[in-house]
């Protein structure tokens, strides 16, 4: 296989099982025989019915969970716990309420031992990138949900990770803010092309963002199909209103519809 120049951003999931064994309850097989390879600099979206193991997959990639079977490799080394090479963005912004916006963005850097003044400089650059430099001195509760989520993303970008892992980062936002945010994310991503794994329930969002869309099937979670998305970049939001775009969305929807119905107890 021909590996690109920037090996650091490569993710390889090799035949992974993840079984939860809750106390006094039956084990839950969240993922089974999962194989996935993400190229350095690639933007991959993961969709699937609720409970199909998307968040679990992301936690495995970050190193917060350890596979029950199989291996996960990030760059050239196996994943053995969280690392600042990979940054995670959750659906809830999880900003520290007691830190100002700039200190929140500097958080990962100061944890890594960087001096506060330097970390703040780096943080300010990220805030400019997400258009929030003016809010640097505010506390998170003084911001809107969309602004907080931008701060959350800036915090992840600030540690300059090889890999950005996002778990439904825009799910709590209204539809308009969400569209703008996904366009913004693409713009930011295009500046330095980090590897991105992005989870969403919104199929059109996935198709708009991704180079490839990974469709997970549920119970047990495994890769159902990987759908390539070859639209040119940069992509306009109007792409979403085109026929080829709609065809891909329909195809992905047909793959997961059965399971979504199943998970709702319909048929």
């Amino acid at each position: 296989m021909n590996h690109g120049p920037n090996e650091a951003g490569r993710l390889v999931v090799d035949d992974v099982d993840l079984v939860f064994t809750p106390a006094r309850r039956d084990p839950v097989v969240a993922l089974e025989n999962l194989d996935l390879e993400v190229e350095p600099g690639e933007f991959v979206c993961v969709v699937g019915a609720s409970g199909s193991g998307k968040s679990t997959l992301l936690r495995l990639l970050d190193g917060m969970l350890t596979p029950t079977k199989g291996t996960i490799t990030s760059g050239s080394a196996p994943v053995a716990g969280p690392s600042r090479d990979r940054a995670m963005v959750f659906q809830s912004d999880n900003l520290l309420p007691w830190s100002t916006v700039i200190d929140n963005v500097a958080y990962g850097l100061t944890l890594g031992g960087m001096r506060r003044s330097r970390a703040r400089q780096a943080a300010l650059r990220q805030l400019e990138l997400v258009g929030l430099a003016d809010s640097a001195g505010q506390y998170p509760r003084e911001l809107s949900g969309g602004m907080r989520q931008r701060v959350n993303i800036a915090r992840a970008l600030a540690v300059d990770p090889q890999v950005l892992l996002l778990d439904e980062p825009f799910a709590a936002l209204d539809a308009q803010t969400r569209e703008i945010m996904s366009a913004e994310l693409l713009r930011i991503w295009s500046t330095d092309r980090k590897t991105v794994v992005f989870i969403t329930h919104q199929i059109d969002e996935a198709v708009y963002l991704a180079d490839r869309v990974v469709v997970l099937s549920a119970r047990p979670g495994t890769v159902r199909e990987i759908v390539p998305v070859d639209f040119e970049r940069p992509r306009e939001l109007s792409l979403k209103r085109t026929d080829p775009f709609g065809r891909i969305v329909d195809h992905i929807w047909s793959l997961i519809e059965v399971e979504v119905r199943g998970s709702l107890g319909l048929s």
Binding site: R84, W98, Y107, Y139
Partner: protein, 268 residues
Amino acid sequence: MSRGTKRGGFLAWLGGPTRGASWSRLVLSIGLFLVAWQVAAMYLVDNRLLLVPFTEVAAALVDEIADGAFASNLYTTVLELAIAFPLAVFGGFVIGAILAGSKPVRQTLDPILTAMYSLPIVALAPLFTAGLGFGVASKVAIVILMAIFPVITNTDAGLRSAEPALIETARSYGASRLQVLRTVTIPHSVPFIISGVRVAFARGLVGVIVAEFFGAVSGVGFAIAAAAQSYQTARLLGYVVVLGLIGLLASIGLTALERRLAPWREES
């Protein structure tokens, strides 16, 4: 920024966030209270053992100050609090932190702590006076016992209630256990601890006064008991007013401390 320039502007300013406004509110509410007191004492209550006009109370207080008795009584009570209260806060914090850190210890001690917290500890005041004498020691013991439990409980609760999502986020950024403590758990617990300290001070004040009732040679509580025995209502109420002022000062001080230590909670 809106300034109180138009009609009704004064009320808007008074409800505003400025320092001047908050002092004005304080002066205004004390003034209203004193007027209400004066009116009640002159026209509503004619039992002079129960209530005398504020002006007489003030006069009695001035006599007491001129006499030198006031300073020595106040000194005793403040000294007792100054020794006992910091010990209670520090001890409560340490014990609370131990409880938060160890589930077995917490589960073992919980019933005892709950019982002790709800116990009217002032009931032990006569015992402490008998055992530790009429001096400062018996008061310090009571104040510590009264004040320590709210600090223990709130420290424990504060340290254990940080959002798991925030802890997980810290960990995903590679935070060590110590870093999680320093950047998440402890900041989260600050407001809890301060409100524990608030309750602790109120309880400590009750403790010191009641302990002085039961046996002391000096102190605010001692002076109140003495005034009551000789039916000097004005003098008694004078000391009660001073207790009110101590409580008020403590509350203002704690609010200022909270602003400093937990600025993120301040209403904008």
